[in-house]
Amino acid sequence: MSDVDTLTPVLTKDWGTDRSWTLPVYESRGGYASLKKALTMAQDDIIAAVKDSGLRGRGGAGFPTGMKWSFIPQDNPKPKYLVVNADESEPGTCKDTPLMMASPHVLVEGVIISSFAIRANTAFIYIRGEILHVIRRVQAAVAEAYAAGHLGTNIHGSGYDLDIVVHAGAGAYICGEETALLEGLEGRRGQPRLRPPFPAVAGLYASPTVINNVESIASVPSIIEHGAEWFASMGTEKSKGYGIFSLSGHVTRPGQYEAPLGITLRELIGLSGGMREGHQLKFWTPGGSSTPLLTDEHLDLPLDFEGMAGAGTMLGTRAIQLFDETTCVVRAVLRWTEFYKHESCGKCTPCREGTWWLVQTLAAIERGEGSEADLDLLLDQCENILGRSFCALGDGATSPISSSIQYFRDEYVAHLTHGGCPLDPAASTVWGSSLTRSGA
């Protein structure tokens, strides 16, 4: 199978085109045809098509998108809202940002079709506050869409009205959690809400709300254009369709690889030109740092929801971070843990206090301080956080620790016996060859 056959560029197909983010270019390549088609369809047929396609949420959890839409109580007299979660902040995850930069209109088109399907007249795109360039690009795309009549009142004579609000987040990882995002969108402190009620019943402004990831919504136009069967023909039995795999770290050509779900890491590494010259894969995350990490034993597992669950991890956001043998796993895990400590919103005890403690214990181990008993303590702390915290942030914080101790316990112990990190930290960097202790 050639590279071209393996990859299935749909969302990424125009990324290389000159000025791909502009409306004329998008339309010249068939953009907004799906919208026009969708507006002639019955709204429930759109929901049914998305259901039949087997599209599952691309934000990490993998909840069937069409089913989520069908939860919206249409007899509820309150307005319905679509909220797009573009608060991409998970360490390693970098698919929505380039998608919105290169092809914002596919998102806008998806938003319009999806909003039409769930009978929402206002949609929000909540974009991570730090990526100002993306916010500007999406704002410009929305303005272009208004000007072209894709948005506003009586869209293309269909009688359907939609407004899109592009909202900039204020810089908190927790706001990627859907209910914390809603709090932030309402102008409040970004902390997760108690569920039930679920957003489908009482979400934004206590009204029925669908919250979807950027990539999920951006996949909708292709389903409308080519049909549910086309989409379902890709991927595996329960994980259908294509997805963007974001490879980063010690590979020759890091980047976005759009492929059917179920592809293996071995294939993806092959596509990206292999691990960097002269090095071997040591460990990797399948879907961002919140997913338990894997090793080179897992190179041939299908990268789909079931395959990853079978290996005790999660497909997550398909943010594959690859680390070769020069990387100290303790150091990598400590950095992630510091991230979770910094981003813990503070609402619940296990996450707020647990991450504070985990960082201290891990940092001591990295310095070669403490004892082997601290490894069991770390695992016990993780056990006391996992499933005890208010939202999944706490769970995510424990994943790299418990999985790394599972696979690399010896390396942790080596820090204690060695009196510090046994590896050369510079060796893992791109400039490592000029800086390594041996090479200097």
């Binding site: 908190a172 927790i174 402190r189 902390q191 108690l194 400590k341 910094h342 981003e343 813990s344 919103c345 503070g346 609402k347 619940c348 005890t349 296990p350 707020r352 206090e353 647990g354 991450t355 504070w356 403690w357 201290q360 214990t361 891990l362 940092a363 001591a364 181990i365 310095r367 301080e369 403490g370 601290d374 303590l377 016990d380 702390q381 056990e383 006391n384 956080i385 499933g387 005890r388 915290s389 208010f390």
Partner: protein, 816 residues
């Protein structure tokens, strides 16, 4: 299973579900939270953020339990927070008592809570009564693994402490951010001036710059804080909980009858807390109820009787001498024209009864009035016809209760600002508006902050115009009043001729229910015991011969005076004119009366004055005999709250030399040869029970018509004065706590926007009694031609310094 029948069951059967907790099956109402269902079988699940009167938060995660079956045959894979999980039929729950995983989850959370907690229990005010300390003992591990982990755990610290308000302090490092305080502030009084700031372990409670936590109910956060993070300036570092004796009591600062707990040590009150009375104040009290108790230990407290000597100076006297001098003087005065009796609002029901009986039996007069404030004959008529001898269990049948406020479709406030004048009613009305859809209407000149917090609607009304506004509610298209409505009438309505009559008329025509809410704790009891010129105890009309005979029989006297007595203003006038010769006065501040100068002059002019008071005042300095009487903390008694609900309490402190008013009056009466038949509170109570409420015909009200002249009159004549007392002001019973005083709302003149724009930020108001200069504050919806000023937040009070309520004032910008 046996069940206790519900009280006089009116509600429909509550749907119950059956759950199994720790192997014990229990039926609980649908939607009960698991944490409370567990309490039903005696299992206390540890908790911090959970509070039964606050919405569930699920923040602390201390109450995790195992749920092997959610009622649908499937269990939850992870431990669940029992404070957010409602029961479901067939649900199986295993708490820490039977589940190792629940116990481990709770121990894990407790360990986390303690890693950043200073563990400074030995110097913490909460030590000894601390939910964190207690539950760390019951549900935590003995030794922390934090200090021994890694290279030794480092705790997060904060500089100590910060002021959230002049009264409330926050020690951030002790805080476990359970959000009880912030949730209270937002949900209960609607004062969200404290909020979470920062995140992660740095998350803390904070205030906005220049916006301190100035809520009248702020002190409740200290009480519900499950750690020692919130403390008051008044109590911080003063005592240890295990050294304190706690006595239940009733708050003496308003007519709410709020249950409180008084904590004292070696004869000194150290602090007061809210009691728990679901039917009255739930678990909340105002800051005045909580912090204003030091007035009883001020240096001017009277501790021995005094009599005026030949040289005209007061000198200490023995009790027997004072009794005999007082009796002699009163006997002379009785012979020389008569003696009037003026009482104030601090009296317990028993003390009020003693004054009432003393006036009739020992002084032979109906010249008695408890209304030490502007009052009217119309008001007395209204009270006799519609208020006296009603109560939740009264013979006249269910009076309006707190619970009724929640079930009423509409509650009309007239002459009444609950946030300032009756805090527990304010909180209950806010709860009713938020959770039961009760609509609050206020007949007032502007929308107060309190009214906004009750989501209320203003019926804009100038002072004096209330009768018309009240009448307009009958069949009003937008906010009509009907039998599902409740009308709460404040005592201030006495200053508006025709207003009480309009209320009575509206009640008769609409079927709405009415309640009278006085400001002071003792007023309702004084009404019930006959401290009015027209009423004997139990609501017996003086004008009714049968009622007089009934009371006389109960008291064992031949007859009682037949002539209706003088009311407070008439007593003052009669003293001033020399028609009355003597005065017995207890708990009255002349500055509160309709004409302070006249009252002061009357006391000066009276031939003989006996004063009974807690602290020295201008009244006691002018008196001929002064008796020290017990503050409420030293005596047992009963307040009757606005509902008509008796609120009995025992003495908190045992102070043998601190005698209640009733004992002093009994002593004087004995010297006068007219035995009252009691010397103790218990004896008075038993007499009151014997005499009981009047079962004869109620007094009826003679309607007074409102003046036809438009009260707004000629705007060129100036502004009409609207005024009431703010919760925290210069009241004598708030003396001695400067921190509390610093949380009071400042004295400002509230004016309409056009007046403000014309006159600027400082205005001088001039009335018939003088001028006051105050900062002005614009109010957008102020009725044209009206200015509002707090009654007792500046100078000697408005009645002395400016003019009576409803008077016309001239206004000018700046200092005149």
């Amino acid at each position: 299973m046996t069940t206790t029948p519900e009280k006089a069951g009116t509600q429909g059967a509550v749907e119950t579900v059956s759950v199994t907790i720790d192997g014990v099956q229990v039926d609980v109402p649908k939607d009960t939270l698991v944490i409370r269902a567990a309490e039903q079988i005696g299992v206390q699940i540890p908790r911090f953020c959970d509070h039964p009167l606050l919405a569930p938060a699920g923040a602390c995660r201390q109450c995790l339990v195992e749920v092997p079956d959610a009622g649908n045959g499937r269990g939850f894979p992870k431990p669940q927070a029992s404070c957010t999980l409602p029961v479901a039929d067939g649900m199986v729950v295993n708490t820490q008592a039977t589940s190792e995983s629940a116990d481990k989850a709770q121990q894990g959370v407790m360990e986390f809570l303690l890693i950043n907690h200073p563990l400074d229990c030995p110097v913490c005010d909460k030590g000894g009564e601390c939910p964190l300390q207690n539950q760390a003992m019951s549900n935590g591990r003995g030794e922390s693994r934090f200090v021994g982990s890694g290279s030794g755990g480092v705790k997060r610290t904060f500089p100590k402490p910060i002021n959230l308000s002049p009264q409330v302090l926050l020690d951030r490092e002790r805080c476990i951010v359970c959000q009880r305080c912030t949730r209270f502030a937002e949900e209960i009084p609607g004062d969200p001036f404290i909020a979470l700031v920062e995140r992660g372990a740095q998350q803390q409670i904070g205030i906005a710059e220049n916006a301190p936590f100035l809520s009248y109910f702020a002190g409740n956060t200290i009480q519900i804080c499950p750690v020692g993070a919130l403390t008051s300036e008044s109590y911080r570092f003063r005592s240890r909980p295990f050294d304190l004796v706690s006595t239940p009591a009733v708050a003496e600062h308003d007519a709410c009858g709020s249950a409180i707990r008084v904590d004292h040590r070696r004869g000194k009150v150290m602090r007061r807390l809210a009691g728990n009375d679901p039917e009255v104040n739930e678990e909340w009290i105002t800051d005045k109820d909580r912090f204003a108790f030091t007035y009883a230990t001020e240096p001017d407290r009277l501790t021995y009787p005094q009599v005026r000597d030949a040289g005209g100076a007061l000198r200490p006297a023995s009790w027997p001498e004072a009794f005999s001098v007082a009796a002699r003087g009163l006997a002379d005065a009785r012979a020389a024209g008569g003696v009037g009796v003026l009482t104030g609002g601090r009296l317990t029901g028993e003390d009020a009864y003693a004054y009432s009986k003393f006036a009739r039996v020992a002084l032979g007069t109906n010249d008695i009035d408890f209304r030490a404030r502007p009052h009217s004959a119309e008001e007395a008529d209204f009270l006799a016809a519609h208020v006296v001898a009603t109560g939740p269990d009264g013979p006249a049948g269910g009076s309006v209760t707190y619970g009724d406020l929640e079930s009423a479709a509409t509650v009309v406030l007239v002459g009444f600002e609950p946030e300032d004048e009756a805090g527990a009613i304010f909180l209950r009305l806010r709860k009713a508006a938020l959770h039961s859809g009760t609509r609050v209407l206020s007949i007032a000149p502007f929308t107060t902050r309190g009214l906004s917090k009750m989501h209320g609607t203003l019926i804009p009304t100038a002072p004096g115009d209330e009768p018309g506004a009240i009448s307009s509610l009958l069949g009003h298209a937008e906010h009509g009043v009907d039998a599902t409505s409740v009308i709460l009438v404040g005592e201030r309505l006495a200053t508006v001729p025709g207003a009480f009559s309009a209320v009575a008329d509206l009640v008769a025509k609409s079927g709405a229910r009415v309640a009278w809410v006085p400001r002071r704790a003792g007023d309702r009891g004084a009404l019930e015991t006959g401290c009015l010129p027209t009423l004997l105890p139990g609501g017996r009309p003086v004008a009714d011969a049968q009622a007089r005979v009934d009371a006389a029989t109960a008291w064992g006297v031949d007859s009682l005076p037949e002539k209706a007595g003088r009311d407070g203003d008439a007593i003052v006038a009669a003293l001033g004119a020399g028609e009355l010769a003597g005065l017995v006065i207890g708990g009255v501040d002349p500055a509160d009366t309709a004409d302070p100068a006249a009252t002061t002059a009357a006391i000066e002019r009276a031939r003989f004055v006996v004063a009974l008071d807690v602290r020295a005042s201008d009244v006691t300095r002018a008196a001929d005999v002064v008796f020290p009487v017990a503050p409420v903390v030293d005596k047992a008694g009963t307040y009757v709250n606005w509902e008509g609900r008796p609120r009995p309490f025992e003495a908190v402190l045992g102070a043998p030399s601190s005698l209640p008013d009733l004992r002093v009056l009994a002593g004087i009466a004995e010297e006068l040869g007219a035995t009252l038949g009691f010397r103790t509170v218990a004896e008075v109570w038993s007499q009151m029970e014997d005499i009981g409420p009047w079962d004869g015909a109620r007094a009826t009200m003679t309607p007074v018509s409102a003046p036809t002249k438009d009260p707004l009159g000629d705007p060129a004549e100036g502004l009409l004065l609207s005024t009431w007392k703010q919760l925290l002001d210069q009241g004598t019973m708030q003396a001695g706590d400067k921190h509390l005083a610093a949380t009071a709302r400042p004295a400002v003149a509230k004016v309409g926007r056009t007046v403000y724009d014309a006159l600027g930020p400082t205005v001088t108001l001039t009335g018939e009694r003088g001028s006051v200069t105050l900062p002005a504050e614009p109010v957008d919806d102020m009725v044209d031609g009206v200015v509002w000023v707090p009654s007792n937040s500046s100078g000697l009070g408005l009645l002395t310094d400016l003019a009576p309520p409803g008077a016309r004032l001239t206004i000018s910008g700046g200092d005149a």
